[in-house]
Amino acid sequence: MRPKSLRVRKAKEAAYLAGFVLAVLAALAVLGVLLWSIVAQAWPQLRWSLLTNYPLTDSTRVSEAGYASAIVGTLWVVGLTLALSLPLGIGAGIYLEEYARQSRISRVLQAGVTNLAGVPSVVFGLLGLALFVRAFGLGKVVLAASLTLTILVFPYVVITTREAIRAVPQSIRDGSLALGATKWQTIRKQVLPAAAPGLLTGSIIAAARAMGETAPLIVLGSIPLMQFLPWGPDSLFVVMPVQIYAYFKTGPAWHGVAAAGMVILLLILFAVNGAAVVLRNRLQRQRW
């Protein structure tokens, strides 16, 4: 046997490392350019009245246009979506992972859930329109949008929940069961606390997904130009991406306002992310 040259091995390591760093830099560069171009376009229109004013179409009053109804609408729709999808998705994840791990029903459900994640989102819009708006007679309201988005983000919550639960070592479950804990006591007191950071990651993905969806909500009748604030689940609504798109379509004069809307949407997203990270760190410390 011929020994491998250490020099060649080290050179390979350096080459791969350089490749990885380049990949990261490329991603960061794209992100940077994107952010820069949005902020640059939005800059002339960044003002507090964006948050409090209602939408307009009158081109002479571009600098008075705002997003008040869309911001409140997004908070309602996303909040309600999380309230519905997290319990459902986490519950389903617990069932599949802890109670039905090897059964045939688990495998069928798993396949279904995974396929659900690959369906184009506009299809969910059409489904929601037929099911919630028409068949259930809810009308084009916040609740119908949230139910539709719940179906849309459900697979992500289930998948991240299963991964988080699977990452909890079996030895912890065994230790708990050996003390005479029931299965549910073991899940509730040992598995879920240990999986909490992973569950939060799933929640963030769900929130980001729900916040950015446009196509299904256009189908579901999100109305741009709404001149009042959505008041609850039974309210008509508009959400940020739809309002941004509406401004953008109105003409080149409105591109600045549209870009400013993107900045607001990004800031809401960062805020949700930040809150989740703080919560996660809190949880991790609280574990002992």
């Binding site: 003390l179 804990a181 240990a194 002992w288």
Partner: protein, 281 residues
């Protein structure tokens, strides 16, 4: 004559003869055992890990189970408190009498069974919580305790496990920060806190250094008058030091059972002798 070729996964021997299990050499009769298995067999799917083991384990004594790797020691131990139930495809036949009642009988709830049979694992498995919460966990599973009661029990369990002095200033720190030996004693304290009648230990010292091992052996010595201990060990000296009785297993069956001293000094079976003299295993 034609014979149909065997389908995949099918044994070529049709209707296999029940395997002849040689009678174990049991040289000492245990009157009134705390645990008694009668013709206990355990399968993992189609593989039989325990073959027809009948064994009587004396009350408030320490019994060691020795034997080469893979002979079924852990499986037997986990059959006592029905931890094997949690393994998919694991099947148990025969009887496992714990205080005269079949652990696999229709009226036995494994949750209650495990509550009175502590199990210590080969690898220390503290919960990812504070030292205090590790011990409080077991108590709170079964009792509504106020914080005063809880603190009292946690303290006495840690004292019983000879761990109190080392951790009394770090009860609120993560148990994962303790040394391996401390973690294992924490697991023992955790089991003792709910006052089990039995303590099953599966190679509790195999991941520990000699000093930590000695501490756990001391602990077993103090406990042996109060609880019935069954310990699986690969370490023959350890068996000789801590156990009153020793069972030798080989390939899923019980080969020999005797007082520890007698088993090591005058084994009746050749297999036992070969194993304890280090000729295999």
């Amino acid at each position: 004559m034609f014979r149909r070729p065997a389908a995949r996964g099918e044994s070529t021997v049709t209707e296999a003869e029940p395997e002849r299990i040689p009678e174990p050499a049991v040289s000492v009769v245990i009157e009134d055992p705390a645990i008694e298995s009668k013709n206990l067999s355990v399968w993992y799917r189609r593989k039989q890990a325990i073959k027809d083991v009948s064994l009587r384990i004396p009350r408030r004594k320490t019994t060691a189970i020795i034997g080469p790797s893979g002979c079924g020691k852990s499986t037997y131990l986990r059959a006592i408190n029905r931890m094997n139930d949690t393994i998919l495809g694991c099947r148990t036949t025969g009887e496992m009498l714990v205080e005269k009642e079949d652990a696999y009988g229709p009226n036995v709830d494994p949750v209650l069974l495990r509550r009175k049979i502590g199990l210590i694992f080969q690898k220390p498995n503290p919960f990812p919580k504070s030292v205090f919460r590790n011990i409080a966990f077991g108590i709170q599973l079964h009792y509504r305790a106020n914080s005063g009661e809880l603190e009292g029990i946690v303290k006495s369990a840690l004292e019983q496990a000879n761990l109190w002095d080392e951790v009394k200033d770090r009860l609120d720190e993560s148990a994962l920060g303790l040394s391996g030996g401390q973690q294992q004693r924490l697991c023992i304290a955790r089991a003792l806190a709910i006052e089990p009648e039995f303590l099953l230990m599966d190679e509790p010292c195999s991941a520990l250094d000699p000093v930590a091992t000695a501490k756990i052996e001391d602990l077993m010595f103090e406990l042996r008058k109060e609880v019935t201990i069954v310990i699986v060990t690969h370490n023959m000296q350890q068996a000789a030091r801590v156990a009153d009785y020793t069972a030798f297993m080989y390939l899923g069956r019980l080969v020999e059972f005797n007082r520890t001293r007698d088993l090591f000094e005058k084994p009746r079976e050749e297999l036992t002798e070969n194993y304890i003299t280090g000729r295999f295993g």
